[in-house]
């Protein structure tokens, strides 16, 4: 077990290194002027030279790569061109904002999907409920997330006026975590959160449904049925055993949510990491874009690692090698 964890950790470090290398080539080799990546235009020649030295942009590509790795190892991604402060100062508050819609959205979407998936999986095979359930889930899964966002925004805020159209609300003089516990914040949170739930629910539903269908013909279900417990209790037995793939799916899904939530953040003007990435890219604020990308990639690596470790804990059949 310990050997497995160590091996998986080493593997994760390797993957992070590879992703940083890919990033180096993407940001530094692809733009026509490689120094454009880290240096603002319109600097005086002297300031430019100084920054080039500081950033190790003077030597060969290999020297640059070493300097780049050294900077990243120290967590130094440089300063944002636009905000004129270290990129981490810009990104840290945004991470929390992104997590605010990603984590509850994913969990609620998974829970709702699990309940509905059990219902559809337990329905009569080939019956109306099963067919409609699958059809609707598949169609909703095909709705792009910005279309979900646009629909929610047009119906519930522009037309009905129930929810605000954009942003997170005015924090007023509240600082720190206090600003997240106001009715105003929750009011702003509602629509983007619903958008994430709708986006993730169908995939959960279908996954859960397949699990329940596969489990419902197993012998242990016959046994529970024979004991004479009510139908809903029997379904619960099948549901519990179908949750395993759902739980392993949740971690990578969280990472993908954080990455894919970009579009929802844009539609609802929610100040998160993804939205900042899009802005940074379009304003050519390369240090900021690079750090945001790195952050999202590391989250995926950690989520995959967590999924592998948790799966072994939950499923006694898994043997670590």
């Amino acid at each position: 077990m310990r050997a497995y964890i160590l091996r998986r950790l080493a593997q994760s470090v390797l993957v992070v290194w590879a992703v940083t290398t890919i990033m180096f080539f993407m940001f530094r080799v692809m733009p026509a002027d490689p120094t454009a990546m880290l240096l603002e235009r319109g600097l005086s020649e002297q300031a430019r030279e100084k920054l080039l030295q500081e950033w190790g942009l003077t030597g060969t590509l290999w020297d640059q790569y070493i300097a780049y790795l050294a900077n990243i190892l120290q967590g130094d991604f440089g300063n944002s061109f636009l905000y004129r402060k270290p990129v981490w100062d810009v990104l840290t508050p945004l991470i929390i904002n992104t997590l605010w819609i990603a984590v509850p959205g994913l969990l609620l979407g998974a829970a709702l999907g699990a309940v509905l998936g059990t219902a559809v999986g337990w329905a009569r095979r080939g019956g109306k409920l099963e067919r409609m359930g699958i059809f609707l889930a598949t169609v909703i899964r095909g709705v792009p997330n910005f279309v979900i966002g646009i629909a929610l925004l047009t119906i519930f805020s522009s037309t009905l006026g129930w929810f605000p159209e954009f942003g997170m609300g005015d924090p007023g003089d509240r600082t720190g975590f206090a600003r997240y516990f106001t009715l105003e914040f929750l009011h702003h949170l509602a629509l983007p959160l619903i958008a994430v739930i709708i986006y993730f629910m169908p995939e959960n539903l279908l996954l859960m449904r397949s699990g329940v269908v596969e489990n419902r013909t197993e012998d242990y279900i016959e046994l529970v049925r024979a004991k004479g417990v009510p139908q809903s209790r029997v379904a619960w037995h099948a549901a519990r055993n179908s949750m395993l793939p759902l739980i392993t799916w949740l971690f990578p899904a969280l990472a993908e949510t954080i990455a894919g939530i970009v579009v929802i953040e844009i539609v609802f003007s929610w100040p998160g990491v993804g939205r900042e990435l899009v802005f940074a890219v379009s304003r050519q604020d390369y240090p900021l874009a690079q750090a945001a990308f790195f952050l999202l990639a590391v989250m995926i690596v950690l989520a995959n690692l967590a999924a592998d470790l948790v799966y072994g804990k939950l499923d006694p059949r898994v043997v670590y090698k």
């Binding site: 593997q11 390797l14 993957v15 992070v16 590879a18 992703v19 890919i22 993407m26 940001f27 692809m30 733009p31 095979r125 080939g126 067919r131 699958i134 059809f135 598949t138 169609v139 899964r141 095909g142 709705v143 792009p144 997330n145 910005f146 279309v147 646009i150 629909a151 925004l153 047009t154 522009s158 037309t159 279908l206 397949s210 269908v213 596969e214 013909t217 990472a255 993908e256 954080i258 990455a259 894919g260 970009v262 579009v263 844009i266 539609v267 993804g274 990435l277 899009v278 890219v281 379009s282 874009a289 945001a292 990308f293 999202l296 990639a297 989250m299 995926i300 690596v301 995959n304």
Partner: protein, 305 residues
């Protein structure tokens, strides 16, 4: 290989015909009414995409003028403009029809490229195993930890937003999952008795892959290509919606981006609804085809009769 030669070949080497494998796949899909509906919609969309330049009433980027010589902005549907006009005075119907072309062009070309790379990597990795498998799978692991949409955003912004670059980026992103899936299908196929027989009868690796492995995993490849079309369409639409689409062509995501950023979402329903509905129809049809296929090929999900 000549005809005479192939008739003298031992039966064990001959394997399965491609035609029957593909035919079986299509029959599986046609047996499911939802998937059949999906196929019909897909076919209709392809026809519209081909005909788009001939049936659209105006040039997609042409500014329409009113009789008094002013820009015909945000006109609701009229007989001259069946789906109204945009805030720049473009005919929505013409833009919408041209959108079919980009969606399907990106979707189909990227999916074929994804299918090809996934198959090559998956088959080599699964069939040969050992070092080759180790190296290819480590590369796949790394590729899998690249965040999809952020990578697409950064790469398209750096390479420049053009249809070719969008297709390239989508291909780079989606071969990785396919390679994994196809590899595991090859792993089970490789251990089958008929493969061992063919080997014993003197078939080369190439013959085994082409005649025994590939025809039997056609269904897995088919499923992945179908899903890839959907992912490609969605990725292109998302990129265009974020303003990173090819500015020289019209796509549905870009239409929605223009409507959104010009603040006309609520009022100009004629501009927003057609591209949204078309995107949902296209992607859902592909998912319906893929799902039916998955259901039919997984024995544990099949309805027991």
């Amino acid at each position: 290989m000549t005809q005479a030669n192939s008739t003298n070949e031992p039966v064990a080497i001959k394997g399965r015909s491609w035609l029957s494998a593909v035919g079986q796949s299509l029959r599986l899909v046609a047996g499911d009414s939802f998937a059949l509906a999906g196929l019909t919609i897909l076919f209709a969309f392809i026809v519209i995409a081909i005909l788009a330049p001939y049936i659209s009433p105006y040039e997609p980027f042409k500014a329409m003028m009113t009789e008094t010589g002013r820009l015909n902005r945000l006109s609701p549907p009229t007989s001259a403009h069946l789906l109204g006009t945009t805030s720049f005075g473009n005919d929505v119907l013409s833009q919408f029809l041209h959108g079919f072309r980009i969606a399907l062009l990106v979707g189909l070309v990227a999916a074929v490229a994804v299918g090809f790379i996934s198959t090559v990597v998956g088959v080599i990795s699964g069939y040969f195993g050992g070092y080759v498998d180790d190296i290819l799978m480590r590369i796949t692991d790394i590729a899998l930890s690249i965040p999809t949409l952020p990578f697409a955003i950064v790469a398209v912004a750096l390479l420049g937003p053009s249809v070719e670059n969008i297709i390239l980026v989508i291909t780079i992103l989606f071969w990785r999952n396919g390679a994994r899936i196809i590899r595991s299908a090859v792993l089970t196929e490789r251990e089958r008795v008929y493969v061992k027989w063919a080997r014993a009868a003197g078939a080369s690796h190439f013959q085994i892959i082409m005649r025994h492995i590939l025809p039997n995993i056609v269904r897995v490849i088919f499923l992945w290509v179908t899903m890839s079309v959907a992912f490609a369409v969605l990725t292109e639409a998302s990129l265009s919606f974020l303003g990173l689409g090819d500015p020289t062509v019209v796509s549905w995501g870009q239409m929605l981006n223009t409507a959104f950023s010009s603040g006309n979402l609520r009022t100009a329903w004629w501009w927003v609804i057609p591209p949204s509905v078309a995107l949902v129809m296209l992607v859902s049809s592909l998912y319906l085809i893929g799902r039916a296929y998955e259901e039919q090929t997984n024995p544990r999900l099949r309805v027991r009769k």
